[in-house]
């Protein structure tokens, strides 16, 4: 269980999050929506303990991560894997080396095992043939698929976090990424690994998530299902989700 309790955060004199509270299960499929600069990515970073709030508590399995030192946070981060916008691949490493990165860091596996694992996950995301390419030679969609393969090869997370996974992609590639996200979080609730997607691409969010949070002016303005989202009366929110109302 992940729980945000009255979390606030200022950045450059600007209140990014203002006493937000919500909780979610690891198996949930949740979309965090909002305009640019509304603190969507910040929520993912707070969840991972990469940044700390100015006030409030963030509980992961009832443990307040805002007071934990970095080594203790590392033990909690294994619940998650994150795919950042643009993939965040290591430029100096090939696709295969990127996927193998964490396995090599651990130093517990033979090169043949690493090669097998890398190929398995690259096949799973549909780009095994790109194993020897460098990140700069890949399209945006391919970079994100490599990032997903790298996350999966590192460990089996309880929840996948996606930061703007379809932003900047053409609709077909965006659909492929959404299908991949659905495939990775498939299964009955409580048994599957969940996902949290941060995006302003509402159709993409609607195709993968079951619960929707909408941030406005640093606060959670809406929290509910897709049906409830579509039935909202708020003109601002209706304008934001107009792509799925048509």
């Amino acid at each position: 269980m992940i729980e945000f309790q009255n979390v606030s955060l200022m950045y450059n004199q600007h209140r990014v999050l203002d006493e937000i509270s919500f909780c979610m299960d690891f198996s949930e499929k949740i979309a965090i929506l909002g305009g640019s600069g509304e603190g969507k990515t910040t929520i993912l970073k707070l969840m991972l303990g990469l940044i700390h709030p100015d006030s409030g508590r963030i509980l992961i399995n009832n443990q307040d991560i805002t007071v934990l030192p970095e080594p203790a946070l590392r033990d909690l981060r294994i619940y998650f894997s994150i795919v950042f916008q643009e993939g965040a691949l290591f430029d100096s490493l090939s696709v295969g080396e990127n996927v193998a990165f964490y396995l090599r860091e651990r130093g517990e596996f033979s090169e043949s095992d690493i090669e097998k694992t890398v190929r398995t996950f690259l096949r799973k995301v549909g780009i095994e043939e790109a194993i020897d390419l460098m990140p700069e030679e890949l399209s945006g969609g391919m970079q994100r698929r490599v990032a997903i393969a790298r996350s999966l090869a590192a460990h089996q997370p309880k929840m996948m976090l996606y930061d703007e996974p379809t932003t900047g992609l053409d609709p077909i590639t965006g659909d492929t990424i959404c299908a991949l996200m659905n495939e990775l979080s498939a299964g009955a609730p409580q048994q599957r690994s969940g996902l949290a997607i941060v995006t302003h691409d509402v159709p993409a969010a609607a195709s993968v998530a079951e619960r929707f949070l909408y941030l406005r002016q640093g606060a959670i303005f809406f929290d509910g299902t897709l049906e409830a989202l579509k039935n909202t009366d708020d003109p601002g929110l209706r304008k934001f989700i107009e792509d799925i109302l048509i």
């Binding site: 991972l48 990469l50 981060r77 643009e86 964490y102």
Partner: protein, 254 residues
């Protein structure tokens, strides 16, 4: 910048320097990364160090021999050139070129990794970014700058020899005998300890500013520029204090 912010920044800088230095003592050691950085820092900087040193040696020799000629002491050019290059000008000039090339490179490389979230990825995987990114760079810089300085000093002395022999028309063997005399223990120690400290400082400052990068391209520009400016200032200031300390330790008198 407020006083409180300045104190916080200094505190964070010292903490990073301390953590990255003690990172040398425990696993993982990242030997492969260290060798890669040494290659980039050392072999990659060779040409610029060669050029800078050669022309500094020649310019210094020309200036000194001209001044000494008016006193009828032109034959002693080698002594002054040797001491100046080995003790002072060699380490400082090479460290300044090193700060421009390597310091800016470190700050921009790490800064780009911060902006591109690669540093976040390391943290998510439980990998300490300081140990992985900073420690190998600090070790490489602290080892390679003294090596480059020794090479640069030699090149500068050859540049000086060229001027003494072919422009001032003085004896080459007398020049080299004075250079040999200048290569005593205190001068050599001074010429190696300084670049070691400079390399360490440049790497610490540049990596700290790289890791502190905020914002996009403007943040990266700021980090890179500040890394070079601060490294340059710190080289000059620390050179003065190190000279004083080395004078005391090595029993030299002003």
């Amino acid at each position: 910048m407020t006083m409180r912010r300045l104190v916080e920044e200094l505190q964070n800088f010292y903490l990073l320097s301390f953590r990255s230095t003690i990172g040398i003592l425990h696993k993982p050691f990242y030997g492969k990364e260290m060798i890669g950085h040494m290659d980039y820092i050392g072999a990659g900087s060779f040409f610029i160090v060669f050029l800078v040193s050669l022309f500094i040696g020649m310019a210094l020799s020309l200036q000194i021999s001209t001044e000494l000629a008016s006193l009828g002491l032109k034959m002693y050019t080698g002594k002054i050139v040797g001491i100046s290059i080995i003790r002072e000008i060699g380490p400082v000039a090479i460290a300044l070129s090193f700060a421009g090339r390597v310091g800016s490179g470190m700050a921009s490389e790490i800064g780009a990794m911060v902006i591109g979230h690669q540093v976040d990825i390391l943290r998510v995987y439980g990998i300490d970014p300081v140990k992985k990114l900073v420690t190998p760079r600090i070790v490489s810089a602290a080892i390679m700058l003294p090596v480059l300085t020794i090479i640069g000093d030699a090149v500068a002395l050859f540049g000086g020899a060229y001027i003494v022999i072919f422009v001032s028309q003085e004896s080459g063997s007398f020049y080299w005998s004075q250079i040999r005399a200048a290569m005593n223990f205190p001068n050599i120690i001074s010429g190696i300890v300084k670049p070691f400290v400079f390399g360490y400082l440049i790497a610490c400052i540049s990596c700290y500013l790289g890791l502190s990068t905020k914002g996009g391209a403007i943040g990266l520009r700021r980090a890179t520029t500040t890394a070079v400016v601060l490294s340059t200032i710190m080289i000059i200031i620390s050179d003065f204090f190190m000279t004083q300390i080395l004078f005391m330790i090595l029993g030299m008198k002003a």
